[in-house]
Amino acid sequence: MLDTFEILTTSGVVLWSRTYAHVSPSVVNNFIADVFIEEKSAVVGAKDGASAAANPLYKYDQHTLRWTFEKELGIIFVAVYRSLLHLSWIDKLVDNIRAIFVSLYGDQLKKPNTTIVECLKFDEYFDQQLHELEQTGGKLDRSEVRAFEDEADSEILGKEPPAPAGLIQRSQPQDDTLDSSPVATPSASRPSTPAVNHLVVAKAGPVAKMSRRARKGQNTNSGLVSSGDEGSARKSKAKAAKRGRKWDADGFADEDDDVQLDYSAPNAVTSDSEAEAAGRPGAVEEVDASTWGSNTKGKFVLRDLGDEVHSILASAGAKNGIEKPGSPAGLVGSGLSAISGLFRNVVGGKVLTKEDLDKAMKGMEEHLLKKNVAREAAVRLCDGVEKELIGVKTGNFESIDTRIRKAMEASLTKMLTPTSSLDLLRDIDSITAPPVTSLRKARPYVMSIVGVNGVGKSTNLSKICFFLLQNKYKVLIAAGDTFRSGAVEQLAVHVRNLKELTAREGGKVELYQKGYGKDAATVAKDAVAFAAQEGFDVVLIDTAGRRHNDQRLMSSLEKFAKFAQPDKILMVGEALVGTDSVAQARNFNAAFGSGRSLDGFIISKCDTVGDMVGTLVSIVHATNVPVLFVGVGQHYSDLRNFSVKWGVEKLLSSN
């Protein structure tokens, strides 16, 4: 059953909600943070205006969320239900509720400087919708249940007064086919097993699936043909309509007779297709038709409301239908609108449409591609911006291009801004010298660096080491590259240099190495143990470079993460690399097992690419992992914190 339905604004205020079972608010909060703010689901384009069916499901902690978003008014409609349940009508409910709510309260929502929306009466509309959809949606399921039902049992239950919405699903006969049947079949759910039809259980076989009447027909059938085998009857039903047989005197069956004995097939077909149509979103007419038949069972209270709701839904549907073909208003009209469009492009105050944006967005996409942004990321950014801008009015004296630029700047900033604070020194302090109130024990802070061959892992490691030494930390460098010859010696040179450079500053640096050929994970583990014993503050672990699509090499990273337990795993990515950066980041991010991912990126060689820092965007797009540092030169001191403002400026600068 539905757990919660909420209508909330983008500013976080719940306008209306209905709760059937308590759902922790963190479910919806996480949904908002993941889908809207961090945009973890890659389908940004399908976000606004789309029906709930088009939006991806969001699953969190045993709950599934169906949602839709009304961009113009900034309201989100969310339905929360248990992931265990299979509710086919949910997306339609969400869509219908959206249409009703927007048409009823749209004016109130446009009022500035208030969050109050008077929607106390909305309860009734919601109840009505829920009822209606549960009935239509339950059609298919109902026939399943009925097959098990005792007839007498259902007679009694059918006369029960309608319980409040959400407790019983279907209490009135809906199928015209069933109503017209001579056998009395008042349909009612079995209250003892109210959720049976929604649980995804093993299907009870095709016979049970058929409606009782269908089964009855089949029984008669099988009696006639005297085969007695239900399996064959089932098969024949699948093949073609059952034909009557006449037995002649010799005992041969004459099958040419046209008398049709099998009534089950056509019935089954109609009810199936009907149920299917009802399950489909947007089948408003289907809902209409079913309500006309419903007043026989005495739902007069909801009837008036039902009419109103249907007219709202119909007008909403009609509006959608009109909007699509557009409205050519003759030569004079189009000419005038073109002129005023040109004028407004200069003066501003133009309402942007898709056609206006298309060309400009193409230009923006080109621009991003020129900046070395991977196509995938550029398309996503542009789609997001386009969706955001359609229907927006440009400001005074603001052209479309400036508006797009502004929106792109905002969306790049949003993408590159990290979710949490990235103060490395603060993190190290809290690990190596935990506050007395906490029960943690002091231990060395472990950082490891991974990446593809030749991107500058060791170089950036020594740059970080230099930075830490300047801050008077005791650093142990572990030579985890036990494969490439010269790797350990290279680190030894770095350590020697760093020792000389920081001798006066008070830092201390040592190299921990076990030569070549050893297992890197074991070396790392030993290094951490050694550092804890000797009182080092930070352990920096170098790793061997590996190709991101080599399964054998990548799989050893999982073991490495488990053994060394790094506090931070940083990946070094080159600014020079192009589209491949997306795949690199993705593969490395996934390589550490299910519980671990990358903590940050270091983008090296930024000084060699000038303004073309698109790699930044590509990798953040691929992984949602923030960029920590950028390498901007050859010296130990040429390591910088990544500043989002700087990155965005470079990306949008034209040259």
Binding site: S11, G12, N113, T114, S430, R440
Partner: protein, 321 residues
Amino acid sequence: MAALDTLKAFFEASLKPSPTVFVIGFAFVLLFPILLHFLVTQKSAYTTLPSVLLVGPSGAGKTALLTLFERGPLAPAPSEKPTSTAPASPTPTHTSQAPAAVELAVSSDGTSSFRDDLDATGTTAKRFLLIDTPGHAKLRRLALSHLSPAKPSTSPTSSYSATPKSKLKGLVFVLDAAALADGDGLPATAAYLYDVLLALQKRASGAKGSKPPPAIPVLIAANKLDLFTALPAALVKSNLEAELGRIRKTRSRGLLDSGVGADDDVAGAGEGDDWLGEYGSDKFSFKQMLEFDIEVEVIGGSVVGDGPGADRWWKWIGQRI
């Protein structure tokens, strides 16, 4: 023809140097600018309400506070069915993605409670805007753009940038006093507070010209004091001061931001620029912010439950408007 003649006569009369024409012309020249002035000033006086900004980390209770002030505590949530209990529960809220502004009124002496209906009692009221901002880390620039000294047009969404920054009368930093008790809550909250205070400090110190920007007092609202695990206001203050001091220290030792060249660093203009409070001081305390005319006050309270309530925050706001 008669019509044309009268028109001709009228033109002739209006161009003749007669006393009537002089008087009318003179009156027009004098009155038109005055009328225009009234027209313009009236409009602008209406649109620029003083505003108070609500900032703070996600989940601290900013939007809940906003709805509490707007609707009052006793308004039942719209979803509440008549049969259900707990009529005093506030409007449920979720993570915000967009700022929201709400027009509120406080009586001119600043003593009225947010529960009072000022329209009904007929007291002279001062209206102001309470602006709620999203607390999610990715969206904090929306809040900080209100504090930046220049470039009012940079805010990307035009819908709320209509609020002029010069009218900002106060800033309420809402935080979750219960979250401060555990390990991760304090650094995250303090980091945001550091950014906010630094932005305010830069705004005050970076102003050019004779007229400094009006001071923005800061209220640190320690929310959720109704919870058992919440720290009292005094402890919140001392913990925050200690943590801000630590952040200040690590930030000063941290790497330069990308885009800041080595040359800029040598110029020395940035010395102490990113240092919050009194430069070179050992310990940070909120008193140091007074140097920049930023008054910081920590007051505890609670939006929900039977804690101390939100009256003291409202009073603080009322006094600053």
